[in-house]
């Protein structure tokens, strides 16, 4: 695989993890996206970032791209599995309304990071996306490169229980997988992070292995479940309180909601607490469903509040 000529070799996306990240950012910046930084909270997927969840709602056009560290406490393997991580990076692109050439844009982005489309078999395989906690669903595909799922491609139809009008297109790149693919590496910890050689080389394992080990211990063995239950309840309560407090008073001239974003932060927090509790195995099968429903209620209410803000299109 060959790199675009203008990059220094250490930023060649086929040999540098950070080069891959920078290339994708640049690619989407050139196509009119605002490049955001990761949301500063623990989330299970890039979709939770308000730049996707909330901005997908309402009539206003929106184009954004960002990297989002994603936490899946249950996927921790103490650093011993070559593919599974409890913390990994997603690259998220959201384009509202979905442009007619979104598939081609996606394929161009693969070319940009060094995937030769004359050499590799890229396929769009049905995969309908649904997030029970976000009250969201969409139709799309998992994108395969030589049989490996490297991205998710979704046309949002509904988010937070609200029909999307217009529909946004969402691309989610699994960055470690994609990097393993273009670098030809079998174990995620062997990825070259900075693209340098010899003493200067920093691997993915150098950066993250210890964290994977420690957080796996935390997620499965040490997380204080009583505290987590408490935090879940606190976040849920705070979310509802903020939603109530932000409602315009009856008969007010400005009917807009004034606390949608802080309320949504609490919804994210509750969702992460649930994920941690789930990893600790302290939520039974029947309880599990009711926790998911509780988070969904919060996200629906936040979505409804967002639609009453300027960002959601309310005047």
């Amino acid at each position: 695989m060959s790199a675009p000529a203008e990059l220094p070799d250490s930023l060649n996306p086929t040999r540098s993890f950070q080069g891959l990240l920078l290339t994708l950012q640049r690619f989407w910046a050139e196509r009119g996206c605002v490049i955001l930084q990761p949301y500063d909270m623990e989330v299970g997927a890039g979709t939770f970032h308000p730049a996707t969840t909330l901005r997908a709602l309402g009539p206003k056009p929106w184009k954004a791209a960002y990297i989002q560290p994603s936490r899946r406490p249950k996927d921790g393997r103490y650093g011993e599995n070559p593919n599974r991580l409890q913390h990994y990076y997603q690259f998220q692109v959201i384009l509202k309304p979905s442009p007619p050439d979104l598939q081609q844009l996606y394929l161009d982005s693969l070319k940009a990071i060094g995937v030769d489309l004359a050499l590799h078999d890229v396929r769009f395989v049905e995969d309908d996306w649904e997030s029970p906690t976000l009250g969201a669903w969409g139709l799309g595909w998992e994108c395969w490169c030589d049989g490996m799922e490297v991205s998710q491609f979704t046309y949002f139809q509904q988010v937070a229980g609200v029909e999307c009008a217009p529909v946004a297109g969402e691309l989610t790149y699994g960055l470690e997988r994609l990097a393993m693919y273009v670098q030809g590496v079998e174990n995620v910890y062997d990825l070259n992070f900075n693209g340098l050689d010899g003493e200067d080389r920093i691997s993915y394992g150098d950066v993250f292995l210890q964290a994977e080990q420690e957080f796996s211990r935390h997620n499965f063995e040490h997380a204080d479940t009583a505290m987590l239950f408490r935090h879940f309840a606190d976040a849920e309560g705070e979310c509802k309180a903020l939603l109530a407090a932000g409602e315009a008073s009856e008969g007010a001239i400005d009917a807009r909601h004034s606390l949608a974003l802080p309320a949504y932060d609490q919804c994210i927090k509750a969702s992460h607490m649930f994920n941690l509790l789930d990893a600790r195995g302290v939520i039974s099968v029947t309880e599990r469903q009711s926790y998911i429903l509780r988070v969904r209620e919060l996200s629906k209410a936040c979505g409804a509040a967002w639609l009453k803000t300027a960002g959601g299109g309310a005047n």
């Binding site: 979905s98 050499l119 139709l139 139809q157």
Partner: protein, 841 residues
């Protein structure tokens, strides 16, 4: 004659939807054309991942002119009638109507309405957009700017372009002009996404297909399948291997590529220690690749077949390597799962109680998993308790069933069978919490068998763990090992009885718990293995522990209910026992049965209703096998087996003509008259049997045998003729009973009167009845249904002669009544095998 070419070009259509969508497109468009009078010579639809295509050959240029005549009022009719006629016919005045003369009726108006046929192009331009807007995709979506508006176009994925041309071979076809939400029809398409993305101008179907081929698109899914299959077989053959064929996977893979390129990859041999089915499942489900095997040993090979969509510039080296890497990662996971499942679980101590309850051996991995399943309290159904409780019920039922299945075995063998059935039932669901089944649910049963073999279970026990799910459908194999049969029956009966108890029966097309399949499974298990199963009593027995769970779940948990028991005078220690042991414990249920008023009637109704469901499924099964399902009704409504009748009235069966006391079987027996109350109240509402044993309708094996014998009999001349004679007799009786009253001809014919005044044919019939009726009934008692039919066949010459020579309605009232009694006896005699009145034809 001109052809229509239509192509709807979109982003990737899910493979599973392509074939049906192509057929829907064809049906919707051709139906709409035919509705407008536009008939065609032939139509064929195609699908690739990115397009639906329809070709309709031999359409007319325009529809036929329609000339319609509408009759009006007489000349000189009142003005209101004239105005109504003008309005209905769309005429301005009577000048536009024609006057016709009729010699009898006089002059009247007629409106002649002539509609010129519609141009086919115009019709298509109306039809296609309407079809697109209302297309029946299982799931569809909105997209792009247009989705801001509420009623924007929906399609399975974004629709990009529409090609629609119409014209004869000899001329330049025209584009059928229309616009669907901004997509304007044209004459261009696009080739393979990577090989030929440019626009292609198309004239008609022939050049369309060849242009696409040049642009690396094989339009026809069946051709893509053929290419894949041929290439895959050849690649396998070259390596001395066999392709493990898989029609479902082939269909799916053909829907994922426009230009199939078949390649072979491989993985490390060490992965072959994973069970072959698990390797196949992971490679199939996750990678959509085919596995290969050694033609001699049948063992799985470490190579696999992948189907790509690209003629790669390196000949597929990178694609093969990439797929191999993913397969290896997946197999590493599977190997890890397999090793984990074979090992001991941590925290074994927490499972002790479950192990004790289920008599499990915690030194064995599979026993540990069953204990874990019980301990976790995984719910089977909110009202039917946990998986652990269900397994206890199935084990108890399997024991009982094994005893019935093995009743003719020597004691030691029967005891062995019972023991194995119980053990197999206790391990049947143990693989559910294994890692492997968690990852590949379709391997349930099969992994259980593997793990059972590994821990040294009896071969029949191991086999039963896999086979107890069988048969999965009408064409699936039915297990034959008695251990498997017992557990398979127990599993299905527990499910059926449970869902019947909580009123979750299948309705219409809804059958979320696959209860129809379960019932069919029971029928096939019983019939194909020749099991004499008293289904009613078995159902009653199976209901008790289910009820225990229900009662526990719904009521017992509340203290109020327990306290209510003491109000009923139940002793405290019994209540305590009930409260602690109610989770499916049979003992507790016995208490329950004693204290709940109306339990028996309730149970009778539930199981009676379930039995009717079995009868319906039996009819469906026989119909699907091409047999006459009306014979099932006839047999069910026929006489109960005299064996069953020995107990007396409580075991009678209700027919549409009233209840009959089977105990009085005899040569010239009597019939209980119309209007006699059915002997059992629950039998009055449904044709289900009363509580009791040996019901003719609850032994599916006997019903099936009886139906088969009857069916063969009715194929013979004797059978057909006797049926005709029966129908004639029944018709005459029905007509005469109207005059004389129901039951007027019950009772034996007066033999003396026949001897004194009867015709020779009359005497012959009386004699034949006197010998054939007891012979038929005796044969039925022996369960010799062929013999019963043979006995009845002997009636035929006498019946034929009787109808040829004897006038039933003789002027002499005594002779008439006696002859009608004779016919009534004939009607009764046939009932020994079936109610002939319910046989069609």
């Amino acid at each position: 004659m001109p052809d229509l070419l239509l192509e709807l070009f979109s982003e990737e259509i899910p493979a599973r939807m392509q074939r049906k969508a192509a057929e829907d497109l064809k049906k919707l468009v051709t139906d709409a054309l035919v509705e407008r009078g536009l008939v065609y010579e032939g139509a064929k639809a195609f699908a690739t991942p990115r397009r639906l295509t329809l070709h309709i050959a031999g359409l007319p240029i325009r529809g036929r002119d329609v000339r319609e005549e509408r009759k009006g009022p007489r000349v000189g009719a009142p003005d209101a009638a004239v105005q109504g006629f003008l309005k209905a016919a769309g005429l301005a005045s009577l000048d536009q109507a024609t006057i016709v003369s009729d010699p009898k009726k006089g002059d009247s108006y007629i409106a002649v309405i002539e509609k010129p046929g519609q141009e086919t192009v115009a019709a298509i331009a109306e039809i296609v957009p309407a079809v697109i807007r209302s297309f029946p995709w299982p799931k569809s979506m909105r997209w792009g700017k247009a989705s801001t508006a509420g009623a924007s176009l929906r399609w399975v994925r974004p629709l990009h372009s529409i090609l629609c041309t119409f014209g004869a071979e000899t001329e330049e076809p025209e584009v059928v002009p229309f616009d669907v939400d901004g997509i304007i029809s044209g004459n261009t398409t696009y080739g393979h996404r990577f090989h030929a993305p440019g626009a292609i101008t198309v004239r008609r179907f022939d050049d369309y297909v060849s242009s696409l081929e040049k642009a690396r698109v094989v339009l026809d899914a069946d051709r893509r399948k053929e290419i894949i299959l041929t290439d895959a077989r050849n690649l396998a053959f070259a390596q001395g291997l066999d392709l493990v064929e898989d029609e479902g996977l082939l269909e799916e893979v053909a829907g994922l590529v426009e230009w199939p390129v078949v390649l072979m990859g491989s993985f490390e041999e060490r992965f072959l220690e994973i069970p072959a089915e698990a390797i196949r499942a992971t490679i199939r489900a996750n990678q959509k690749c085919f596995v290969l095997r050694d033609p001699m040993s049948g063992a799985l090979s470490n190579r696999f077949i992948l189907v790509s969509n690209l003629v790669a510039s390196d000949g597929g080296v990178a694609i093969t390597a990439g797929n191999g890497r993913v397969v290896r990662a997946r197999l590493s996971d599977a190997a890890y799962f397999f090793a984990t499942d074979k090992g001991s679980l941590p925290d074994l101590d927490t499972f002790r109680e479950s192990a004790e309850k289920l008599e499990l051996d915690l030194s064995k991995p599979l026993d540990q998993r069953m204990a874990k399943l019980d301990k976790l309290g995984v719910v089977f159904h909110a009202k039917l308790g946990t998986q652990g409780e269900r397994v206890q019920r199935i084990a108890a039922l399997a024991r009982e069933l094994a005893g019935i299945i093995g009743k003719d075995l020597p004691d030691a063998e029967r005891a062995e069978l019972v023991k194995n059935a119980e053990r197999a039932a206790k391990l049947a669901k143990a693989d559910l919490p294994t890692e492997m089944v968690g990852e590949f649910p379709e391997l349930q049963g099969l992994m259980g068998r593997k793990y059972a073999e590994l821990q040294g279970e009896h071969p029949s026990v191991a086999a039963a763990i896999e086979e107890h799910y069988k048969p999965m459908g009408p064409s699936d194999r039915v297990p034959t090992d008695p251990v498997s049969v017992a557990v398979a029956l127990a599993d299905k009966l527990d499910t059926l009885v449970g869902f019947w108890a909580i009123d979750e029966k299948p309705t219409g097309s809804k059958d979320p718990y696959a209860l129809r399949r379960a019932a069919l499974g029971v029928i096939r298990l019983v019939v194909e293995n020749g099991v004499r199963l008293p289904l009613f009593d078995t159902g009653i027995a199976a209901l008790k522990p289910v009820l225990g769970t229900m009662y526990y779940t719904n009521k017992m948990a509340s203290l109020g209910a327990v306290e209510a028991l003491s109000g009923l005078g139940v002793q405290d220690d019994i209540i305590e026992d009930a409260a602690t042991r109610f989770g499916g414990s049979v003992k507790a249920v016995d208490i329950f049965e004693d204290i709940v008023p109306g339990y028996e009637a309730w149970a009778d109704e539930k199981i009676g209703d379930l039995l009717s469901f079995f009868h319906d499924r039996l009819k469906v099964m026989l119909r699907d096998q091409g047999a006459r399902h009306d014979l099932v009704d006839a047999v069910l409504a026929g006489s109960p087996s005299p064996l069953a009748g020995e107990g007396g009235a409580a075991r009678s069966v209700v027919t549409d003509e009233g209840a009959r006391d089977a105990a009085s079987a005899g040569a010239l027996h009597t019939q209980a008259g119309e209007g006699t109350a059915p002997p059992h109240p629950s039998a009055a509402q449904t044709p289900s049997p009363a509580r009791g044993e040996g019901q003719p309708s609850d032994d599916l094996l006997l019903i099936t045998r009886r139906v088969a014998a009857l069916s063969r009999f009715l194929d013979t001349e004797d059978g057909k003729s006797l049926l005709a004679g029966y129908k004639r007799a029944a018709n005459i009786l029905r007509a005469e009973e109207k005059k004389d009253g129901e039951g007027a001809f019950a009772g034996a014919a007066d033999l003396q009167l026949i001897a004194d005044a009867g015709l020779i044919e009359e005497k012959a019939l009386a004699v034949a009845l006197a010998s054939a009726t007891p012979a038929a009934e005796a044969a039925v008692v022996r369960e010799d249904y062929e013999g019963a039919m043979t006995a009845l066949a002997e009636l035929r010459p006498a019946v034929d002669a009787f109808f040829d020579q004897v006038t039933v309605n003789d002027p002499d009232p005594a002779l008439r009544a006696n002859r009608l009694r004779l016919l009534n006896q004939l009607r009764e005699a046939t009932r020994a095998v079936a109610d002939f009145g319910r046989i069609a034809g």
